[in-house]
Amino acid sequence: MLKTRICGIKLENPTVLASGIMGVTGASLCFVSENGAGAVTTKSIGLEERKGHPAPVVLEWENGLINAVGLSSPGIEEGVEELKAAVEKSKSPVIASIFAPTTKQFGEVARQVSKAKPAMIEANISCPNVEAEFGKPFATDQKAAAGVTKIVKKNSKVPVIVKLSPNVPNIKIIAQAVEKAGADSICAVNTVGPGMVIDIKTGKPLLANKAGGLSGPAIRPVAVRCVYDIYESVKIPIIGTGGVTYGKDAVEMIMAGALAVGVGSAVHYRGIDVFRKVCNEIIEFMEKEGYSKLKDFRGIAHE
């Protein structure tokens, strides 16, 4: 009932572990896969070893999470090794998320992770938490976004997903630019903001990085609107990500036009088996409403 296909890759169900939640190691990706995820995405892999920001790096506020992990990464060699372990042992397809500070390096990282034969490569051009170091995310400029897409495509043998930022005035233009540059799919969205939470007893920002990206329930309406806009402007499939916590949220994303749904922060809200729970709730919904396939309600918000 929930089977779906994205860029020719079969998924048992449409839930995809979002990048940066759990996926630091091969073993942790397998652990998530065993808990029912239709596909799993690695924490973004980069060329150099990075410790990330000091802690706190992730906290909860009233309506979601805020994070500035700061793209910690063991570096390319160990990153590829962990990816290989995941590809070998995971029950569901593995998506390799990659990041780099320059367009050129994106090509190099794509080339390196390709060795581990992931099902797809996701170019994370939208992390808001490393601006001090990397400058404005590529996803905020259509030319920069297209440039990265082209070079990642050139260096990959598998379908390429480009992960977009919601923090732009017109996401349609960016989506069209990456589609034109050869992207096979779009993941939308990365975290919103960045935002800030200040502790009023000490008068200090809580995150060590001070600002961080928002995720979880509060950003869902933003994510749904982004997916809706992208669906209207491109033909390539969309992985709708942002605030999906319950089956009803996944259904909403699919109605906005998503082919699959990313699940990240909900691992906190509902536990590691959130994937199985969300799937059961989608089925429950479909049975009640008389849908037999996901396709029956995909994009119906546009009709």
Binding site: F31, A208, T245
Partner: protein, 273 residues
């Protein structure tokens, strides 16, 4: 479909700012920080301690009553150094309690603590006494000035046995050697351990061989503490030490292939133990 009540019903995973009520010199390079707050932790659980504008690190609960809890901290690096410079009345943040906990069971039990691994066992010893267990506490340290809780344990009726690496107090040698004699001479219901991983590995092997139920608490690099970031996932099961752990039964720990061999650093890179 159940509606989300997650933002209402439970406390938020963000630091609660507390004043340090009291600081006690526990031993050489060890200080105990006491806070007035009802934590509702169980033995084996830990908190994330935030020093504003510095960093945030995990520490086990070593003492708890209805109004207070305490952490015993060993000075090892930049964060703990900073903490040692703080004074009573200074503000820090606390998140938690996090992780699973020791199962309070057994009539005749042995606790094996090495170095700062002794901290969570102090709390465990208190709770085991409350359920009227016969508690034997093997405490190990490199030398006499580093020994923890001898007075505290004596007061609460826990039998303590001391080993030091240099023989400056108690028996010269390792805690595991004492445990061996214990296992040979007594009928033990349960062994609990926390400390250096080489020590834990020996404890686990001895207990498995002797058929004694055993739980150990292990450490891995932690960032979020509530199971989201994936930093403390272990090979090959992928379980999170901050969530499914830090306490594992001897049987479960046998499935953790990296146990006693390597851990991961803040970047996720493997480091030999």
């Amino acid at each position: 479909m159940s509606e989300c009540s997650c933002t209402e019903s439970k406390k938020l995973e963000k630091p609660l700012v507390l004043k340090i009520e009291k600081i006690v010199d526990e031993a050489k390079d060890f200080k105990t920080f006491i806070f007035r707050h009802r934590l509702n932790a169980k033995p084996g659980q830990f908190v994330m301690l935030w020093i504003p504008r510095v960093d945030e690190k995990p520490f086990s609960v070593t003492y708890q009553d209805k109004e207070r809890f305490a952490l015993t901290i060993f000075k090892v690096g930049p964060f703990t150094q900073k903490l040692f410079e703080m004074k009573e009345g200074d503000k820090v943040g606390i998140r938690g309690p996090y992780g699973n906990h020791f199962k309070l069971e057994g009539k005749n039990v042995v606790l094996v603590g090495g170095g700062c691994g002794t901290a969570p066992l102090g709390f465990l010893a208190d709770e085991m006494k409350k359920i009227k267990a016969d508690v034997n506490f093997i405490v190990g340290a490199k030398s006499k000035p580093y020994l923890l809780y001898l007075h505290r344990m004596k007061k609460s009726g826990v039998k303590t046995f001391v080993t030091t690496d240099d023989g400056s107090f108690g028996v010269k040698g390792f805690t595991t050697e004492l445990l061996k004699t214990f296992i040979e001479k007594n009928r033990l219901d349960k062994v609990f351990a926390c400390g250096p991983e080489v020590m834990l590995k020996h404890v686990v092997e001895m207990c498995l061989k002797a058929g004694i139920p055993c739980e150990v608490s292990m450490e891995r690099y932690m960032k979020c503490g509530f199971g989201v970031c994936g930093q403390c996932c272990v090979d090959n099961s992928g379980v999170r030490v901050c969530k499914e752990g830090p306490v594992f039964s001897a049987k479960k720990i046998k499935k953790i292939a990296e146990f006693g061999k390597y851990k991961r650093s803040a970047s996720g890179k493997k480091v030999k133990l």
